[in-house]
């Protein structure tokens, strides 16, 4: 019976998305309760699914009773359950934040629920075309949310993302079309079989299909050099939206890349196409370095951590390209861990912006005296992003680098060592910009006069200037604690993800 949870987890948020708008005709401020109840249900559902998957093994659900490969299938396995859980938890946590700092309208909550449903759909679907649909739902709602505060800059950022994102999604669709031509099926599991039976790994149609799909994902993930929409989008969006988007949207796309690469095209496809592996590693390596370097150059806090995401996702994609069991484990750990870290970091920045109007690095001067807990959590999360053990950030990077070095040892190639070196270099860059933030927070030596602290943030109408609201602060501190606590969970990650990894590397 648990399998019914899979369609419900997608359908309920999407259906519930109509409620704030519909009821909003009659009641004001009805959006938040509806979103909260739905999201709580989503968390419960995610917990149940994760429990079932990690104790009883993967399971699936055939939508409408149509058997695959014709019908659409929803699959919960060790990988998707982890992402589902992350999506549900971060969505719920974001609601706590958005209630205080906005945005609050019914339209926002409708879009928010649609986004949640779409993200869950991305993580659960087992069908290539269905994946496109959910990616589009996620994309469209994200465009809308970015422009939610109706400022000119956010409208431009939204438009930019809209145009570029649509082209990217189209590339993905083109790729799916090629694969469909080659294999005659859209079900992921079936495609992986049919590629061998009806085509081959070196079939130009299959190769071209993967190329289009990979480029489409690269854009959605925001890898250098097709990341150009992402810093604008993160910077200009309302703070709570940035929190959600930064933690989940690119994460869902990166998850989809892992899923499509390993469950659809399989590791044998990578082995048969050296060129594609080389390109993936090259792009991800450049992404890691360029993203880190660009992050160091920023003085706007949100933009800084936006570029940081370019680098971090570079590492995850590198883990995909290395095609090593340990590296992929690291990639998945970093996927989840990075989502958590970015949620925490943007949440902390949102709180400091709402309370103290801090939007640039220099605005943070000695804020640790006024907001010790928020600053402390921010510092911890930043150090976790650097990869200081014990933290989930260290764990992910460690496994990726370890896998890279091991694969280099296995094949005698310099590429793996190169990736490990790039990760190390990016760690130094990360340390550089995180250190700037921590230095400003703690050691600026500025005496702050409480009277002059003016909340001039984008959503400043909500929070009381010069304070940090309690509920989101609790969430933020919890995120920091979890980020550190998961640093001890290396063995647990290995055990939980082992079935998935041994299946794709069988």
């Amino acid at each position: 019976m648990t399998d019914v949870l899979l369609p419900l987890s997608i359908a309920v948020p999407i259906v519930a998305a109509t409620l704030p708008l519909a009821l909003g005709l009659r009641y004001d401020e009805v959006g938040w309760p509806i979103a909260a109840v739905t999201t709580l249900g989503l968390v419960g559902s995610a917990a149940a699914v994760a429990f079932e998957v990690y104790t009883g093994g993967p399971f699936d659900h055939e939508l409408g009773g149509f058997a695959p490969p014709i019908g659409i299938e929803l699959v919960a396995d060790e990988l998707s359950a982890a992402v589902f859980l992350l999506v549900a938890l971060v969505s719920a946590a974001t609601l706590v934040l958005s209630r205080v700092i906005g945005p609050r309208g019914n339209a926002f909550h409708s879009a928010y629920l649609l986004l949640s449903g779409g993200l869950v759909g991305v993580s659960l679907t087992g069908d290539l075309f269905n994946l496109f649909v959910f990616l589009e739902i996620v994309g469209l709602t994200t465009y809308a949310l970015i422009a939610a505060d109706r400022s000119g800059a956010s409208a431009y950022a939204s438009l930019k993302y809209l145009v570029v994102g649509t082209v990217g999604a189209s590339l993905y669709l083109v790729g799916v079309g090629y694969v469909f031509l080659a294999t005659g099926t859209l079900n992921m599991a079936d495609v992986s079989v049919q590629i061998v039976e009806r085509a081959s790994y070196t079939d130009p149609l299959v190769q071209a299909g993967f190329a289009f799909i990979a480029v489409g994902f690269a854009l959605k993930i925001a890898l250098f050099p097709v990341h150009t929409w992402q810093p604008d989008a993160y910077q200009r969006a309302p703070d709570a939206v940035t929190t959600l988007v930064a933690a989940l949207v690119s994460t869902a796309s990166a998850y989809a890349l892992i899923r499509v690469t390993y469950s659809v095209f399989t590791v044998d496809f990578l082995a048969a196409n050296d060129a594609i592996v080389t390109v993936i590693l090259l792009v991800s390596g450049v992404s890691i370095l360029a993203g880190s370097a660009l992050a160091v150059m920023q003085s706007d806090l949100k933009r800084m951590f936006a570029y940081s995401s370019v680098a971090q996702f570079g590492m995850i994609v590198a883990a995909v390209g290395i095609a090593d069991e340990t590296a992929l484990l690291g990639g998945i750990v970093h996927l989840v861990g990075h989502g958590l870290l970015k949620f925490g970091l943007f949440c902390g920045l949102a709180l400091l912006a709402a309370g103290y109007g801090a939007r640039r690095v220099e605005d943070l001067a000695s804020l640790a005296r006024d907001a010790p807990f928020a600053s402390g959590a921010l510092a911890v999360l930043g150090l976790a992003l650097v990869g200081i053990p014990p933290s989930v950030g260290f764990l992910g990077k460690w496994y990726i680098a370890l896998g890279a070095v091991r694969s280099a040892g296995a094949t005698g190639g310099v590429v793996g060592v190169g990736i490990a070196a790039v990760i190390l270099a990016s760690t130094l860059f990360t340390l550089a910009y995180v250190a700037r933030v921590i230095e400003r927070l703690y050691f600026a030596g500025v005496e702050r006069d409480p009277g002059t602290a003016v909340a001039d943030g984008g959503s400043g109408d909500a929070a009381v200037p010069g304070t940090i609201p309690t509920a989101p602060l609790v969430v933020l501190v919890a995120a920091a604690l979890v980020a550190v606590g998961l640093g001890f969970a290396g063995a647990a990650f290995e055990t939980l993800l082992d079935p998935y990894l041994s299946e794709v590397f069988a």
């Binding site: 690269a218 097709v226 060129a275 594609i276 150059m297």
Partner: protein, 595 residues
């Protein structure tokens, strides 16, 4: 019987340095009298333990692995036991003396922790443990010097530099030893590996006061509290001699001759001194020469020479500290540190005078005192060496040692003459305090005891059966020995009163190597610090300029482009983003399909 072995087993489970280290902490916490009493008890325990373990307690106790290496924390054999006996005994006397000398609690505490590290070195059963405690000893003894403040601080720095260098060299020797032998354990090898010979000799030699490596000795020991000097004067150098034997159990003529030169060099410079503790410090070097001469003859002469060296080491601990105590009482009571300003004190300080005579008679090897026994053994051993034969059918080594003996006589006649006679008393201080007297009597009693009952001394030594057997001619009070001693004594008296004026002139004009060494080191250090600092500053400036430039470029990319005449927007707009995307897709396709 089981009770006895049980007691032995219990004793072997307690490393003595832990007991002393705990006592060192308690000294600080407890009232002064109680703390010093406890400290004396702890060191007395060390003595008793070593005596009791002599009866069937030998072996490698507390053997374990540390950092993956086999180590022995409590190695009990004939050599470490004799060190334990004398260190425990003397430390007890010295704690009593410190209590009687109004030494601050910190002196006793630091002295005890210094004793503890010394014991760790002595009882180490492997080179790793040994070098660990060796370094700790350098640290604790430096602290003991610094505790006094004033002039002791600068001297303490020089002391620390010397011993830091020596410790590092010894550490290198131990590393080389391990690299070649594959183990740190004493039991696995006979001494240190030949590849590490030079490093070990220099590393240990600094603590032994090798000629030209000795300048820390007369520099440091006169400076701290008189009670601290008593501790310092015996442990570091004598432990070094012991470790020298551990490293080179087969000796070597180089070591013997070095010992001979040390005896002459030390005695000669002692003759020129007017600071009593400085004079005694030079004699430490001279006396170490006799020990090293004995160890050096281990192969050429045999176990007799080794026992001679160890017996001299054992006796030296007793009488050298006794002399430091006696001189310390004079300094403590008068506050004067120049023997020319003393004089006629034998009337007002009879106890101190008596004790000084015992110590001086021991160090100069007057019959009836312990130095006579052990120095005789070393001289007898040296007599069997006939290289570079000079007069009286005796070799260079023997003559060096005899010459050192004459010099020793002369300098102690000088010391006694200036302090206790030499005109009428201008000062009238009190005599030693009761606890000073107690400490001194303990040491003095031992000096006389072992001089008279010399078989007891041999009982404490290794190879006892061999020495006391008929094969070895061991008759300290034979006529030839007594004649030799009398000749030395006469030569000493004649020499001193004949050469008093020339020596006084020399003392003004003759400087030791430190006159060159210290300023040279100081200026070399200053110039190297300046050079390194300036070079670093230059590198730093260059780096900072590059970083600042990079930062400016990073912060002002548009201005850089404008300066270069490029008029372009670098942030990708919508159009260029789509272009980038299309290009990427094209590149990916090309790579896949044509790659």
């Amino acid at each position: 019987m089981t009770g006895a072995t049980g007691a032995t087993a219990a004793l072997t489970a307690v490393p003595p340095y832990l007991v002393v280290a705990v006592a060192s902490l308690l000294v600080l916490a407890l009232p002064r009298a109680l703390g010093h009493g406890l400290g004396a008890l702890a060191t007395a325990f060390v003595f008793a333990q070593a005596v009791l373990l002599g009866d069937g307690g030998t072996g490698a106790h507390l053997a374990t692995t540390f950092l993956g290496f086999d180590v022995v924390f409590f190695n009990v054999d004939q050599f470490s036991l004799l060190m334990g006996v004398v260190v425990g005994f003397l430390a007890t006397a010295a704690v009593l003396y410190a209590y009687g000398s109004d030494a601050p609690k910190w002196v006793a505490s630091l002295a005890l922790i210094y004793v503890a590290t010394t014991l760790g070195t002595i009882y180490a059963g492997d080179w790793l443990t040994l070098v660990f405690f060796w370094e700790l000893t350098a640290v604790t003894s430096t602290l003991l010097v610094w505790q006094h403040g004033g002039a002791a601080v600068r001297a303490g720095y020089r002391y620390a530099l010397f011993h830091g260098t020596g410790g590092t060299v010894l550490l290198a020797a131990v590393v080389v030893h391990f690299a070649n032998a594959g183990t740190f354990l004493f039991s696995a090898t006979n001494g240190i590996h030949p590849a590490a010979t030079v490093l070990a000799a220099i590393g240990i030699g600094i603590n032994c006061g090798f000629v030209f490596l000795h300048s820390w000795l007369p520099d440091t020991y006169p400076r701290p509290h008189v009670a601290a000097s008593v501790f310092l004067s015996v442990f570091t150098t004598k432990t070094a001699a012991y470790v020298m034997y551990r490293a080179f159990p087969e000796g070597g003529m180089w070591l013997a001759y070095l010992g001979g030169f040390m005896a002459v060099y030390g005695a000669f410079f002692a003759l020129l001194q007017y600071d009593p503790r400085r004079l005694l410090s030079y004699h430490i070097q001279a006396q170490l020469g006799y020990m090293l001469a004995g160890f050096g003859l281990a192969t050429a002469v045999g176990e007799f020479a080794v026992v001679g060296g160890f017996a001299h080491l054992f006796n030296n601990v007793l009488y050298k500290s006794l002399l430091f105590m006696a001189v310390g009482v004079v300094i403590y009571r008068t506050g004067v540190e120049d023997i020319r300003e003393m004089g006629g004190l034998w009337r007002v300080m009879p106890v101190t005078f008596l004790v000084y005579v015992v110590g001086a008679a021991s160090i100069t090897a007057v019959p009836g005192f312990n130095g006579f026994i052990s120095k005789g053994m070393v001289l007898d051993s040296a007599h069997e060496i006939h290289n570079y034969v000079l007069l009286l059918d005796s070799g260079l080594l023997w003559w060096l040692l005899v010459l050192g003996g004459v010099g020793t006589f002369m300098s102690f006649i000088k010391l006694g003459y200036y302090v206790f006679f030499h005109g009428s008393a201008t000062l009238s201080p009190d005599d030693a305090t009761p606890f000073q007297t107690a400490g001194m009597l303990l040491a003095a009693g031992a000096c006389v005891f072992f001089g008279v009952f010399y078989t007891q001394l041999i009982e404490l030594m290794p190879f006892t059966d061999l020495i006391l057997s008929d094969e070895v001619y061991f008759k300290p009070y034979s006529r030839s020995h007594l004649t030799e001693s009398a000749a030395l004594l006469v030569a000493g008296f004649v020499g001193f009163f004949a050469l008093k004026r020339p020596l006084g002139w020399l003392a003004h004009h003759m400087r030791d190597v430190d006159a060159v060494l210290f300023p040279a080191t100081f200026y070399a250090g200053r110039w190297s610090v300046w050079g390194v600092t300036e070079a670093w500053a230059a590198v730093d400036r260059a780096t900072m300029r590059v970083v600042a430039g990079a930062k400016w470029v990073a912060m002002n990319p548009r201005r850089l482009l404008a300066a270069a005449g490029v008029d372009a927007e670098i942030r990708a707009g919508i159009g260029r983003s789509v272009l980038l995307l299309t290009l990427t897709a094209a590149v990916a396709l090309f790579a896949l399909l044509l790659g």
